[in-house]
C-alpha cells in the first residue's frame, strides 16, 4: 500500500520557526502556494504563561531530552555521550516563541572576515558570498515587520541603515543603567539592545507588558514579536499557507535527475504521507536540517542529500554565552522585564589585531542565568544550607551579569553527523555533535569576560565574579554553518542564493548557510536572509506563475 499523497504544492517548507515562517510570508504574499511541515505543535498565546518551573525546568517549551536526545563528543576518537546540546523549541514559531529577542545586525566586517583577518590556522575561516549591503534591505524589512525597538545610530559599529527603527528603544532598566554608567566611564560605545518587545503599540498589537517572565517564557499577551505572531498570521492571511503541525519529515526523496521529488512525513498518529512540490525549503535549524539531509540517502546521494562534497554538517558553530557577574549595594531587580533589557556594546566586536585573537563578540547586560527565583544563582553559592539561603536573600535583587557571545571559529572537524546508536522517540538516528573549541574561541571568551568585568567595576559593583568559558556547550541555542553558502561547490553546500549546488530545487534558509557564526545573536540575520532567499525563489519562478 502506498502512502497517501496530499495535493502537490508550489513550495514545501520544512519547519515553521523564524526562517521557515519568514520564507512562507514572502512566498505566499508573492502568490505561491506553500505547504509547511512542522514537526512540533501549533501552540497559541493562550497556552503560554508565567511559570518558571514549567518553562525553564520542565521542558514545557524546550524539547524533552527523553524524546529528542542528541549526542556529543569532543573528538572523533571519543565515545559520544547523550547530551542536550543546543536545543531549540520545536513548535510553530520555533525559538522565537520563548526568546527575549535581541536583534542586533551583523556588521559589514562579518561578511568579509577572512579578508580582514587572513588565514587562521586550524580554522576554515572564509568570507561570505554576500555582503552587508546586499542583506541590508532585508534587515530593514524584518525590523519593520516585527516592530523592533531600537535607536538607530547608537551603535557606532553598525553598517549603514536605509531606515531607522520602527519603535523607540525600551525604557532603560536599572541593570541597563548600570551598564551604561560603566561603559560611559570607560569611554566605550554602548547602545540600547534592539529588541523584539514593542516599546509602543505597533501594527495593532499593544506595547509589551514589563513582566518578570520573558526570556524562556512564551508571551501570553502576544505583544513580543515572534515568527508565531507576525510571519505566521501574515502568511495565513493570504489563504495560500497550508501549515501542518505535528508533521515530522523523515526523508526527502529524489528522482532520477537528482531533484527532490517529495518530503515523506509522519503525522501525530504515525500515518505516513508523501508531499510533492516544485521547490523544497529547509528551515529546521542548522542541526536538524543537516540531520534530515543526512537521513535522506539515495543512489544519487549515498552520503546524504546534496553532499557530494562531504561538506554537509561540517563547520558547525554554536556561539558560547558567558558572563561576569556583579553584586551591587543598591537593588537592581535584574529579573524585571525578563532580565535582558536593554544595553549592549560592540566596542570589542570587530577584529583588532592588537588583542591577539581574531574577531570579537557582542556584550550586553543580563540577569544572572535565568534571573528568576528557582534558577538564579551565584558561582560560589553552596548547594545547600544556611549560607546558600542567605545568599539568595542578600543578592537576588542585587546582582546582574554583563554577558558576551563568543564568536566561535569554523573548523572542518566540528560537525553534525548521525549517531550510530541513539535514536529519538520516532526511532530515527539522532544528531551527533563532534566539537572542540579553537584556542581563538577560548582566548576571545577570556578577553570579553574581562571586559564584562571592567564594565561592572566601572559601574560600582562591590564584588565581581568572572566566569570564563572553557568549552562550547551549545548554551546559546544558536546554531549555524552545517550547509555553508559559497561560490565554490567543492567547499560549500549551497550557492550564494542558498540553493544546493547539487540539487536545483533545494534551498536552505535557517542558520545552516552561515559561513561563519559572527559574534552577534543570529536570528535577525537568519530571518533577513530567509526573506532574501524567498524573494529570489519568487523572482526566478515568477514567469511560471504569470
Amino acid at each position: 500500500m502506498s502512502a497517501p499523497k496530499p495535493d502537490r504544492t508550489d513550495v514545501c517548507i520544512i519547519g515553521a520557526g523564524a526562517s521557515g515562517a519568514a520564507a512562507a510570508k514572502v512566498l505566499t504574499e508573492r502568490g505561491f502556494s506553500v505547504v509547511a511541515l512542522e514537526r512540533g505543535p501549533w501552540r497559541t498565546k493562550e497556552t503560554f504563561g508565567g511559570d518558571e518551573l514549567a518553562n525553564v525546568n520542565r521542558y514545557n517549551l524546550w524539547p524533552d531530552p527523553l524524546l529528542n536526545p542528541r549526542t556529543y563528543r569532543e573528538g572523533a576518537d571519543q565515545e559520544p555521550v547523550v547530551q542536550m546540546f543546543c536545543p531549540v523549541p520545536q513548535m510553530v514559531g520555533g525559538g522565537t516563541v520563548h526568546w527575549q529577542g535581541w536583534l542586533p545586525r551583523f556588521t559589514p566586517e562579518d561578511f568579509r572576515l577572512h579578508s580582514v583577518v587572513g588565514d587562521l590556522e586550524g580554522t576554515s575561516l572564509v568570507d561570505w558570498p554576500i555582503t552587508y549591503d546586499e542583506l541590508e534591505p532585508y534587515y530593514t524589512k524584518v525590523e519593520w515587520a516585527f516592530g523592533v525597538s531600537g535607536l538607530a545610530g547608537a551603535n557606532a559599529y553598525e553598517g549603514p541603515r536605509s531606515k531607522g527603527y520602527p519603535c523607540p528603544p525600551l525604557p532603560l532598566s536599572r541593570y541597563a543603567q548600570k551598564f551604561h554608567q560603566g561603559t560611559r566611564a570607560l569611554g566605550w560605545n554602548a547602545f540600547p539592545t534592539p529588541q523584539a518587545a514593542l516599546s509602543r503599540p505597533y501594527n495593532g498589537r499593544p506595547a509589551t507588558v514589563i513582566s518578570a517572565f520573558a526570556q524562556q517564557h512564551g508571551d501570553p499577551t502576544g505583544t513580543r514579536s515572534s515568527a508565531l505572531n507576525v510571519f505566521v498570521p501574515d502568511a495565513l492571511a493570504t489563504g495560500r499557507y497550508d501549515l501542518r503541525p505535528e508533521s515530522y519529515v523523515r526523508e526527502l526523496t529524489v528522482d532520477a535527475s537528482g531533484r527532490i521529488s517529495a518530503a515523506v512525513y509522519q503525522n501525530e498518529a504515525g500515518e505516513t504521507f508523501v508531499q510533492e512540490a516544485d521547490v523544497f525549503v529547509l528551515a529546521c535549524g542548522a542541526v536538524e536540517t543537516a540531520r534530515l539531509m543526512l537521513l535522506s540517502t539515495s543512489a544519487r546521494f549515498p552520503h546524504g542529500l546534496a553532499n557530494g562534497s562531504d561538506m554537509l554538517g561540517r563547520n558547525v558553530t554554536f556561539h558560547e554565552y558567558s558572563s561576569a557577574i556583579g553584586l551591587f549595594d543598591d537593588p537592581i531587580y535584574a529579573w524585571a522585564g525578563g532580565g535582558y533589557v536593554s544595553a549592549s556594546s560592540m566596542q570589542f566586536y570587530n577584529h583588532d589585531e592588537s588583542r591577539g585573537f581574531a574577531s570579537g563578540g557582542h556584550i550586553a547586560c543580563a540577569g544572572v542565568g535565568i534571573p528568576l527565583p528557582i534558577n538564579w544563582g551565584l558561582p560560589d553559592r553552596p548547594l545547600w544550607g544556611p549560607e546558600a539561603k542567605s545568599m539568595d536573600e542578600q543578592f537576588f535583587n542585587h546582582s546582574m551579569a554583563v554577558s558576551m557571545v563568543v564568536h566561535d571559529m569554523p573548523q572542518l572537524s566540528n560537525r553534525v553527523e548521525l549517531d550510530q546508536d541513539v535514536v529519538d522517540a520516532w526511532e530515527l538516528p539522532v544528531a551527533r555533535i563532534t566539537l572542540k573549541p579553537h584556542q581563538n574561541d577560548l582566548a576571545m571568551g577570556r578577553f570579553l569576560v574581562d571586559r564584562d568585568a571592567d564594565i561592572l567595576q566601572a559601574a560600582g559593583a562591590q564584588k565581581i565574579y568572572k566566569v570564563y568559558p572553557d568549552k562550547v556547550t551549545g548554551n546559546c541555542s544558536h546554531q549555524h554553518g552545517t550547509a555553508r553558502m559559497g561560490d565554490d561547490p567543492g567547499t560549500s553546500v549551497l550557492d550564494r542564493n542558498c540553493r544546493a549546488h547539487e540539487v536545483d530545487n533545494l534551498f536552505i534558509v535557517d542558520g545552516a548557510p552561515f559561513p561563519t557564526a559572527t559574534g552577534a545573536n543570529p536570528t535577525l540575520t537568519i530571518m533577513a536572509n530567509a526573506w532574501r532567499v524567498a524573494e529570489h525563489i519568487a523572482d526566478t519562478r515568477g514567469q511560471k506563475r504569470g
Binding site: 504563561g49 532598566s173 514589563i210 501525530e268 558572563s323 531587580y333 544550607g385 537576588f396 535583587n397
Partner: protein, 219 residues
Amino acid sequence: MSTFFDPHQHDTLAAAMARIIPTTDTPGATEAGAIDFLESYLAGIDRIYAKPDGSGFEALTGRRADAWRRRVEILRSTYVEGIVDLDRRSADAYGAAFVDLDAKQQDRVLTAIERPGESTALNTAQSVSGYAPVEPALQQASVEISLSFLALLALHTRQGFYADPIYGGNRDRMGWKAIGFPGPSSLAEVHTGRYTVIEYFADGSHEQEMEVTRERAKA
C-alpha cells in the same frame, strides 16, 4: 492527595529538605511545604504542567506522557535508593535513622554525601552539581534525571520553595517574600497581562540616561 513515598521516606526527605533550606530568622523548606511540592510532583503525571491561566493542570497524552512517566520513574528510583543510602550512613555514623538525628548530625551526613572525605560542612567551595550554576549559563542543557540524590533533592527543595504556589510548595509565597521577588498573586495575573513589574524595572531616571544615549548616538 495520592503519594508515592511511604511515611518513613516522606519524613526522611522532609528532614533533609529542612537542612537544605533551613528555618532561620526567616521561613525555610518546612514552612513553605517543599515536601508537599515533591509529593505532588512524583505522585504521577497529573501535576506536571499547570494550565497557564491557573485553572488546573494539563492532561498529558501520547509520547509526552510516556516521557514523563519514564522520568517520574527514574526520579522515584533515585530517591528510594538515596534514602536507603542516607539511613545506612546515619546508622554507621550515629546508630540511628537519618530522621532521628539532630540537625548537626544530619548536616554531617549530607556533607559526607556531597563531598566525600570532608568532615566540615558548608565551606564556600564552588558547588558542583544540581541547580547551582557554576557557569551562569542558561539552564536548557541541564537534565534532571541525570542528577544524583543530593543534587536532585537540593533542586527539588529549591523548586518547592520558589516555584509558583500552584505546585504545592512556596506556601503563602513565602519563598518569594524571603528574597524580595514580587511574584504574581496567581498564574492568571500573568496570563491576562495584568502582571507588571514596571516599578522595579525602571526608576524614572532612565529618561535622563536615555537622553544621554541619544546625544551620544548623534555625536
